[in-house]
């Protein structure tokens, strides 16, 4: 029951002293802003692990043969790396951090629809993450199946898979609850006068994302349960020895995991759609086209999963159907890119750091997307499937896309979230190193894939050596950039200069509240009039 304590409106959410003290004031808080930060900090912990594993792989691959670890370790490393990065960083990533923080403010609400469920979803996140970590630390060996858990290897492997599988299952639940919360919030809690087509694009992208989370995640949930049951009881559903079909596992896995890649990228695109108009001081170009493309990606993206299985022996009919659908889902992405670039046209561009991240986002996203087209075509997919080319594709688009957008978003909203400004020079230096390092790290992998180096390879033939050295060097440059960026942000959160309420002259609602925002965001719920809109500059 909500007690009728008066919540003061001049206290910001960071300083607010509620019922609980210290850390409990955070982990028992149902304030969407605090939950957002809880997510951010817990993700950061996992992220450090993920990055370290990524660097370890690059170090191992710097030369053929054993460098720093054995094959079994390498396999575990890329498995845990993939599981952490996908299930714990990029899927919750923008929705759980910026969605939680900004969505209610951007639509003029005091909180999300179900604040307690929101907190619960964070608990699920932590529980899932801990289970995955438990699978690393205890039992007979770290999981070594790859993040895809392909049958039948996933029940042949003698490693400690069950906790990892259940961990992923629980993480899925966390993601479902977040999505559910967002949909209800958007349906029920928009400020008076804010019609659907006056809603900013970031909430729109969260809306599309939430539907995918809701409809796709349960499928992978049940699939993982089946794998677990297979391991425990041997029910036979995916075990060829018992009549099951391992390819059916792949269908079910990708029915979720393809839409999941759009769970990652849609909010990233949403954040970019906020940054670009703000720094161009211009109405977004083609507002409705961007909304339509968001919904189209969410919808069509549900039906293209088979492009991960072109060599698994699907029927020919299924193969070209999936190929056509894959190409169709590329078009809404194209529309977005065109609209972003057109928004810059005749704008008044202020090339601040969030904008730089946004521009570099568009660049790497295009490269990633174009390599997706190579993968979507049947003949070329057969050639580069399961090679380093795919690894390059998804690092460009997942990590390039989501990572660049995340950093754009955090530099954009940082003054609002913490009420302080970071050091802009260091931010630019970090960005420059990061971008250069990124390109050096992943571009050689395209080449490696084109000359035929399979992925998940611990060791390789000498002809792949040169490109791998370059790539490993890149990983260091990028990490250096990352360190600069992160340290800069960390220091500024405490000691940065006090930020203005609206440093970038944005027009969305979050820029109307104090920085950091007060506990319940708005003293009075804002009302949108006829003429108001998120991008009316």
């Amino acid at each position: 029951m909500q007690t009728a304590t008066q919540i003061p409106h001049d206290v910001n959410y960071l300083d607010y002293k509620g019922k609980y003290k210290g850390i409990f004031g955070w982990i028992f808080s149902t304030d969407h802003k605090r939950i957002a930060l809880l997510y951010m900090y817990s993700m950061m912990v996992m992220f450090v692990v993920g990055v370290a594993l990524g660097l370890a792989m690059k170090l191992e691959l710097i030369a053929p043969g054993q460098t720093i670890m054995g094959p079994q370790t390498y396999n575990s490393v890329f498995t845990v790396h993939g599981v952490i990065m996908i299930f714990m960083i990029v899927i919750p990533g923008l929705p759980a951090v910026f969605g939680n923080f900004m969505l209610p403010i951007m639509i003029g609400a005091k909180d999300v629809a179900f604040p307690k469920v929101n907190l619960l979803s964070w608990y699920f996140y932590v529980a899932g993450a801990l289970l995955v970590i438990a699978s690393v630390l205890f039992g007979n060996g770290t999981p070594d199946t790859g993040w895809t858990f392909y049958a039948p290897y996933s029940f042949k492997s003698g490693t400690n898979l069950l906790p990892a599988i259940f961990g992923a299952f629980i993480l899925g639940f966390s993601s479902i609850l977040t999505g559910l919360n967002f949909i209800v919030t958007i349906h029920r809690m928009r400020a008076p006068g804010m019609t659907w087509f006056k809603m900013p694009l970031f909430p729109w992208s969260l809306y599309g994302t939430a539907w995918i989370q809701l409809l796709a995640t349960p499928v992978v949930g049940i699939t993982l349960v089946l794998v677990a049951l297979e391991r425990i009881f041997g029910i036979g559903v995916f075990d060829p020895a018992l009549g099951g079909d391992p390819v059916l596992y792949q269908h079910l896995f990708w029915i979720y995991s393809h839409p999941a890649v759009y769970v990652m990228i849609l909010p990233a695109m949403g954040a970019i759609s906020e940054i670009i108009p703000t720094f161009s001081q211009k109405h977004i170009f083609g507002y409705r086209a961007i909304i339509a493309s968001t919904l189209a990606i969410a919808f069509v993206g549900y039906f293209v999963w088979g492009h991960h299985m072109f060599t698994s022996g699907m029927s020919g009919t299924a193969q070209y159907t999936f190929s056509v659908l894959t190409f169709l889902v590329a078009i809404p992405s194209a529309i977005k890119v065109f609209n972003w670039i057109s928004t810059m046209h005749k704008g008044s561009i202020n090339p601040e750091i969030p904008f730089l991240w946004a521009v570099s986002f568009i660049f790497v996203f295009m490269i990633g997307g174009f390599s997706g087209l190579v993968l979507g075509a049947l003949a070329t997919n057969v050639y580069v499937h399961d090679t380093a080319f795919v690894v390059a594709h998804f690092h460009f688009i997942v990590f390039g896309g989501v990572g660049f957008s995340f950093f754009g978003a955090i530099h954009y909203w940082f003054p609002k979230m913490f009420g302080r400004m970071y050091d802009k020079v260091w931010a630019k230096v970090g960005w420059a190193f990061f971008t250069v390092g990124f390109l050096t790290l992943y571009s050689p992998m395209f080449y490696l894939g084109m000359i035929g180096m399979p992925r998940r390879y611990y060791d390789y033939l000498p002809e792949f050596h040169a490109a791998n050295i370059l790539s490993s060097l890149g990983s260091w440059v990028m990490t250096f950039g990352l360190l600069i960026v992160v340290i800069n942000l960390f220091r500024s959160a405490k000691n940065g200069a006090i930020a203005e309420i609206n440093p970038w002259h944005g027009k969305t609602l979050e820029w109307t509240v104090a920085s950091p925002p007060p506990v319940e965001n708005f003293e009075e719920i804002p009302v949108y009039g006829e003429k108001d809109g998120p991008y009316e500059y």
Binding site: Y302, S315, T317, A318
Partner: protein, 94 residues
């Protein structure tokens, strides 16, 4: 908070729905007793579909709720059917 709402469904509506559901259940048991070959699956599914529509519309109040809920249910069903359909493109033509 919203004033209007809550259409109270009379008990007897529910009772009639139950009777129809039971009748449909027995009909579907009956139809699978006669050998229809491959069509018995289809028959049983048709009965199940009718039953689920009854449950959705009356027991679950869709009939009295806002249209967008009905739209969502329909949409989700369609998405699911499309997924099955596409999966069968693989298995049927293999």
């Amino acid at each position: 908070m919203e004033k209007e709402k809550h259409h109270i469904v009379p008990y007897k509506t529910y009772f009639y729905i139950l009777i129809s559901l039971l009748v449909l259940t027995f009909m579907s048991i009956g139809i699978t007793k006669i050998n229809l070959g491959g069509y018995s699956v289809l028959g049983a599914l048709i009965f199940s579909t009718i039953k689920s529509v009854l449950v959705l519309y009356w027991f679950m109040h869709l009939k009295f709720d806002q249209p967008f809920l009905r739209f969502m249910v329909g949409f989700v069903t369609l998405v699911f059917l499309a997924v099955i359909f596409i999966t069968f493109l693989d298995y049927y033509y293999r």
